[in-house]
């Protein structure tokens, strides 16, 4: 039972509560020590079951670990540490505790051995991430957070109904591989895909995440989608439907990022793109593909955090978020610029970066499975990814915006340097990452052929980028997405219809009330106190009445009887 207390996720949740009460140095110390402790616990996790419980006659396993969940727990804890370091100087005191609740719940979800525990942590993540959004404390963040919460509560409901149906069907709440074949499994799959930001349910991500504070989005980028990737890898490996779903996400992410002006929304669309590779990997389902998806999730969390820290530093120093308002910042923010470039190269799977040794495994799996079309689309998308790596170009080069902000404070610089070192370190010495991978499949990233092929692909993508730069010029626009349905004309039409119905109902109600009131007045006039039909009569009058009736009777008797 002692091992049940050594739960890295619960440690972070407990730290979240303690952080809310602390100030100053003690707060900073705990903010770094808690995720470091969680990382140590996750690193030393032994495979197997660490906690059992009985609930309503169901055997639950709230705490279990294997290679797959250990990999995700490690990268989540590592991410919480880097994010906390970056956010040390965040003035909004609620954000870090909310982020720890969020990160701890994500770790809890990947260490859940049964579906009910998974559901509990799944919902706790929705709460934690919404609180992170709230701590940005702007009206637009609040509105976006409500839309975000609606989507995730709906997803949570799908998950709960799916789990209930699954338990009814099988009598067990165990979280084991499933096939999308019955009602229960489809609902569970749909709930996982909501959190993975699969199109057309992807719009919540680029809608909400960029509204978070400069440090908040760093946390948001890491946990929700990657927990969903974990859930797909464990729950639906080899489900063919995931391949087209993932490919749509891949291209949706690229195209929307190309049209976007908000620097952090570009990166948000790029998250959908990357998660698409992982979802497709889960769908291919071979050991190589699953390893590739897991490895890519690991490296993606780190380089995406680095990119968002770079963008967050720019936002922190300038308060601006649109590419059209930025440019030329390399002069005064050289470190932020360099770290942004490392993140972008890693994101494009450039050789010697972490993206090169991880994402290519998924393409390799497609090739080994003789999935020619899938492989061609992966290659096209890998080239296209280089285009939205244009983020550093628009922010740090492009034109001189006249802004000369300095690099951010030491803790933010340290967090970026740490992540940049990890991006390059894992790209060169990938052994420790491969040792964490859950399945046995040997892959050698640095072959001469792979290097040449990838360099050709990326360099000529770069040529297309610079040759067609005029077409890529950012404008002060947004691009309509599926959230238009609940934010744009359809939502307004529904609102107008609802208002018209409410008005008609109010009129009908008023008429009915008036009718009832006049009927009541009439009844009161006739039957009310002292009204003609309800007046009390003196007993003498009744006596006279009865007597005259009797007299009339007597009279009629005499007259008839004679």
């Amino acid at each position: 039972m002692a091992s049940a207390l050594a739960h890295p996720g619960l440690l972070l949740v407990a730290a979240a509560l303690a952080l809310a009460a602390l100030e100053g140095r003690a707060r900073a110390a705990l903010a770094l020590a808690a995720p470091a402790g969680a990382l140590a616990l996750a690193w030393n996790l032994e495979e197997g079951v660490h906690g059992r419980a009985d609930f309503l006659g169901l055997a639950l396993v709230p705490f279990a670990a294997d290679a797959l969940s250990r990999l995700f727990a490690i990268v989540f804890a590592l991410m919480a540490f880097c994010g906390a370091l970056f956010a040390l100087n965040q003035e909004r005191r609620a954000e870090l505790p909310a982020a720890f609740l969020y990160a701890g719940s994500a770790i809890g979800a990947v260490l859940a051995g049964d579906l009910l525990t998974l559901f509990v942590f799944w919902e706790a993540m929705a709460v934690g991430s919404t609180l992170v959004l709230w701590s940005a404390a702007t009206p637009s963040a609040y509105r976006a957070s409500l839309r975000y919460l609606m989507v995730h509560l709906a997803g949570g409901t799908l998950l709960l109904v799916g789990i209930a149906a699954q338990v009814l069907e099988t009598g067990s709440a165990a979280f084991a591989p499933m096939r999308p074949e019955g009602f229960a499994q489809w609902l569970i799959l749909a709930a996982f895909l909501v959190n993975a930001a699969a199109w057309p349910l992807s719009a919540w991500l680029p809608d909400a995440y960029p509204e978070a504070s400069w440090s908040g989005m760093v946390f948001l980028s890491a946990f929700t989608t990657k927990t969903a990737v974990y859930a797909l890898l464990r729950g639906f490996p080899g489900a063919e439907i995931l391949v087209p779903v993932g490919l749509v996400m891949v291209f949706y992410g690229i195209v929307y990022a190309l049209l976007e002006n908000d620097m952090r929304r570009i990166l948000a669309y790029s998250i959908v793109n990357k998660v698409g590779f992982m979802v497709a990997g889960a769908g291919i389902g071979t050991p190589m593909a699953l390893n590739g998806a897991a490895a890519h999730a690991f490296t993606h969390i780190l380089y995406k955090a680095l990119l968002l820290m770079s963008a967050g530093s720019v936002l922190y120093r300038t308060g601006r978020r649109l590419c059209t308002d930025l440019g030329g910042l390399w002069r005064s923010m050289p470190l932020t610029c360099a770290c942004g470039i490392v993140g972008a190269l890693s994101s494009s799977s450039f050789p010697l970066t972490s993206g090169f040794v991880s994402k290519s495994m998924i393409g390799q799996a497609a090739a080994e499975g003789h999935l020619f079309v899938v492989w061609m689309l992966f290659a096209a998308a890998s080239a296209g990814v280089f285009l939205h790596a244009g983020f550093p170009w628009f922010v740090f080069f492009q034109k001189d915006s006249g802004l000369r902000p300095p690099d951010p404070p030491w803790n933010m610089r340290a967090a970026m340097l740490l992540l940049a070192a990890l991006c390059i370190g894992l790209g060169i010495a990938y052994g420790p990452l491969y040792a964490l991978l859950p399945y046995s499949a040997t892959y050698e990233p640095y072959t001469a052929w792979h290097l040449v092929a990838q360099l050709q692909l990326l360099l000529f993508s770069g040529l297309a980028f610079f040759a067609m730069l005029g077409w890529l010029k950012r404008t002060r626009t947004i691009t309509l997405d599926t959230d238009w349905l609940w934010r744009g004309a359809p939502a307004r039409a529904v609102a107008r219809t609802a208002a018209a119905c409410a008005a008609a109902f109010a009129t009908a109600e008023a008429r009915l009330r008036a009718g009832l009131r006049s009927a009541g007045a009439q009844a009161r006039r006739l039957h009310g106190p002292q009204a003609p039909l309800a007046r009390t009569w003196p007993s003498g009058a009744i006596g006279i009445g009865v007597m005259s009736l009797l007299l009339a009777l007597l009279l009629s008797y005499y007259l008839s009887g004679g």
Binding site: A367, A379, W471, L480
Partner: protein
Amino acid sequence: MRLAWTLFALALAASVAAQLFVAAEPHFALEGLFAFHAVYGFLACAGLIVFAKALGALLKRRDDYYDG
């Protein structure tokens, strides 16, 4: 600026030329063609940019679209 473009052009040429000295390990026959990745990478990006531009013509709105 001219220097940057020259260096970039050299890098492009080098990446294609390097294929002459490397044993090809193509997964599919198409991939083994000379400079396949270079041509395919360029065309894929150009195609994506054109597609994005067309989609943008349909779906782009002023960025205060939802604020009104």
